[in-house]
Symmetry: C3
Amino acid sequence: MDDQDGGGYGRIGNLPDEDPTLTRVGLGTPMGELLRRYWHPIARSEQATPLPLEVRVLGEDLVLYRDMSGTPGLLTPRCCHRGTTLSIGKVEDQGIRCAYHGWLFAADGQCLDQPCEPDRGRNKDSYRQPWYPVVEYNGLIFAYLGPADRQPAFPRYDIFEDLGDDEEIVIIDHFAFGGPVEAPCNWFQTHENAMDPYHVFILHNAISGPQFDPKLEIWPRIDWQRHDWGVTATQDRDLPDGTTLHRVTEVRMPTMRVIPTPTLSVLGKTNNLSWALPIDDSHTHVYAMVRKPKEQPPQGLPIYGGEKRSFAPTDDEHPLYPGDYETQVGQGPITLHSEEKLSSSDRGVSMMRRQYKDQVELVANGGDPVGVTYDDANALVSVIAGNYIIGPDTDLETVPLPESLTQR
Amino acid sequence: MDDQDGGGYGRIGNLPDEDPTLTRVGLGTPMGELLRRYWHPIARSEQATPLPLEVRVLGEDLVLYRDMSGTPGLLTPRCCHRGTTLSIGKVEDQGIRCAYHGWLFAADGQCLDQPCEPDRGRNKDSYRQPWYPVVEYNGLIFAYLGPADRQPAFPRYDIFEDLGDDEEIVIIDHFAFGGPVEAPCNWFQTHENAMDPYHVFILHNAISGPQFDPKLEIWPRIDWQRHDWGVTATQDRDLPDGTTLHRVTEVRMPTMRVIPTPTLSVLGKTNNLSWALPIDDSHTHVYAMVRKPKEQPPQGLPIYGGEKRSFAPTDDEHPLYPGDYETQVGQGPITLHSEEKLSSSDRGVSMMRRQYKDQVELVANGGDPVGVTYDDANALVSVIAGNYIIGPDTDLETVPLPESLTQR
Amino acid sequence: MDDQDGGGYGRIGNLPDEDPTLTRVGLGTPMGELLRRYWHPIARSEQATPLPLEVRVLGEDLVLYRDMSGTPGLLTPRCCHRGTTLSIGKVEDQGIRCAYHGWLFAADGQCLDQPCEPDRGRNKDSYRQPWYPVVEYNGLIFAYLGPADRQPAFPRYDIFEDLGDDEEIVIIDHFAFGGPVEAPCNWFQTHENAMDPYHVFILHNAISGPQFDPKLEIWPRIDWQRHDWGVTATQDRDLPDGTTLHRVTEVRMPTMRVIPTPTLSVLGKTNNLSWALPIDDSHTHVYAMVRKPKEQPPQGLPIYGGEKRSFAPTDDEHPLYPGDYETQVGQGPITLHSEEKLSSSDRGVSMMRRQYKDQVELVANGGDPVGVTYDDANALVSVIAGNYIIGPDTDLETVPLPESLTQR
């Protein structure tokens, strides 16, 4: 094969392909339109305040604020009158007022006042600032950036229902336990990592020293399962005490990855899940939602190898103790699928790509993608990821086994 | 209307239009050619020294220096011999010498010496460094960047003539009283602001607290007048003492805006005027020329709202107490006319745009734009802007009233 | 001529030409392909360590490392498996291992291990990371980035052969004696300077004060000679003692410039030579190799003019005491040949350009450029540059005179 010739000369093609169908997130792009059919977390609730905040979501620059009545609003920044940014607007009881000529807009974009026009705007009802609907849920602000007639019901998740008095839900902005919260790379390469269990043995162990629970060093039986709603990976490890550690991770349309804590400090079904927010084509923010006892820290956090046992490596330490952040950002701003050599251990990655391409095509053909419902009664999602210990007395009905997982 | 649908999805067109006819300033662009038919201030006199200074004017990078005989010169930086920048050249009695091979150029570009050539350059007369003519006037250096056969007479202004012994003229680099002197936005959106009196009641009062004289808080009768040479706005306020404050502002081809001090510390005809220098398509510098008594500060400066009463807000204070700088820069590097919704209060803005488009077309068709004269005897300009108090005893002949203003 | 009209208006063409045939260095460009037929210095030996180093050579981003057995390797950074950068890989006894999934590559790119694949990679022999061959020579790492079947013998240089016990060879990264070691400009404009002896009298004397030995202030007879392998310049100066200082400088394919020390502290044949490394189209690094007595500093270094007598001017001092760095960087990132006016004193520059264009064409037509040999026995290069003193007793056979130089 041509790999075998004597060097790198001419090996880098002129037009390597980053797989634009899967990686572009802008308006009108294939994946961008798929993503615009779901709700996305765009900020923590406490970031929506009377001081307007500039946010970028799916490549769109927006202004987030919360008016004095407590209603959050998400508007395009360029005032529809003369174009000054609403990021310097003044928030009022109802809406935000442009600093230049005072047009006032409600959270649904409706113009409420035009103080320099006769009668404060005889036609003001006909002006509307471009806006997006938002929902607050457990400390996160979610927004829907898609077509108005396709706005889905807002989904809830079983693991965050029926909270006990001693429990709470917290939001953690992080990038896979160790790294800056915003990663300068495409969201999809961060997403694929969730269906790549093999890298744990290399990156999180052999390369950087054990970063997770020692039990995860035991080599498992690994399999992947495709579902309507996403992909799961199962890892089964025979533990010294005769039980089996059955670990299930999942990715779920559109950007959710459910990774039970790798410190194994929570057993059974997972207590957390994460969303990747595609800021734009080459920047990603990860929000994690964690259910926990009020008196305890969120969960066991991974440690770093060698002499480094820290959650937040310095710039100098990143290359010495690489983790998820370093390897995913190290694939470049948008990784090049055309330059890869996928192997048998990458089957989960391939499975994900096929599924996302199917959903992209479905949306392009006018359909509704998986997981979208317009009925609030159907909007409760049941996740299955977890660290399950299977012993002789375990009721297998309570465990999502590979066999059952593949029954579609 | 389509504004009324449910959100921002798809609202941002792919090709919003910044109105390139009005906003581009480069060589060969419509407005660029109109601007190249006038003299522009490019630096304060004290900035022209034997240490060459890099300046950018209408998108062209140039080198300004003053030779030992006191003559300022404005040359293109790339030496016509081998291309080294003259910004590291050595200024001599007559001209500037390139540091690489020593070619010496006069302020009119003429090559005076080629020390490495036989007989120090037998053909040196045939080499000329690209250059532009400059004129010094009241502490500013003006340059003409247009075609040589269309170089107009240098204009003077009546308000700076016949200076008394106790008077002086000073130059203030500022951006509309509060803000960095260089604004990262297109010059035309800064220029339009001068014909937008309504924003004063919002931006400079309701939003940021009173920034100007309290009398300006009185709601006026506002009108605009188009003239051959520009546009004026008149604001008439009935004062408590029975007199009328008749305030006139003007914009004048090509980049002049004449705004009588908004602190009302100078009554009658204005004591100052300003030029916007288009540095390039997205950067603007404003030079103000002020006539004043030697013993007094230039004029009352505006104060800032809330607890902030400063001429120079910090970076943190800019969004909290927005002023002209924030709202004009907040329109983006080049604002998008296609995304605006001009209303009745924007009539002055519309009037300006029509006039500039007319002049652009006139120049494109080979004509000379308004205000250009080739006769020094006709080069004295009489401005009309001012803060005029009209009482029962006022001689109305001394006041530029709207009726007279509209007689063309 | 049109230079004579009244100013700079319209003088800057829309498409000035930087002579892309000579200045572009990327894969597939005319000069890029010529350069890819030679070995280039890419780093000092001590920079190749077990900590991978990112380097850029001819516009290609690469990773340099040295494995635990001492072998240096130069690979493309994007791992051929999933694309993570090998700059965060772990160096082992033989090769470098990707941090993500552990593929191990030897210095010749061969994949040696795939730990996540069955049997650690049954087909691993068929995978090869793009790589380039490297050679260490006298403290520099050289690499060959061209087609495998055209890899030339590695050249040696007579002036570095047969080192005495009291001698050593040192590497100096510098930019022509004064300036940062990396210059933000195209390599070719730095290279031309070596055939431009006239600038010495201006730049290094009249402009910045005497930077070299006072004898170089004497105006010489200057001539240039074209050879198969490059171009030489000769300068003959009649010294007060009746002898002649015969100074010869040379440029040699592809990027070598041999400049005998301008401090004249070494007489006879030169003790040093330099390579310009084209980092990319607009960045250049210069490596100098110097032979010297162990007990002495490398050689006399030039001094700076005026009050400044320093090898390393500060940022503020660069424009005040310009040297080679300032004038070459001052030509812009890539100088514009189309805007030049070459004169009689630029004959050496013209000669170089013609020769490089001939060689570019030769390679484009499938030939081997000058200086390339595939036989190690022919790979010893004899340089001729030097500061030769010719007196009545001098054996002229030992001096490379212009007459002999032009015999081809």
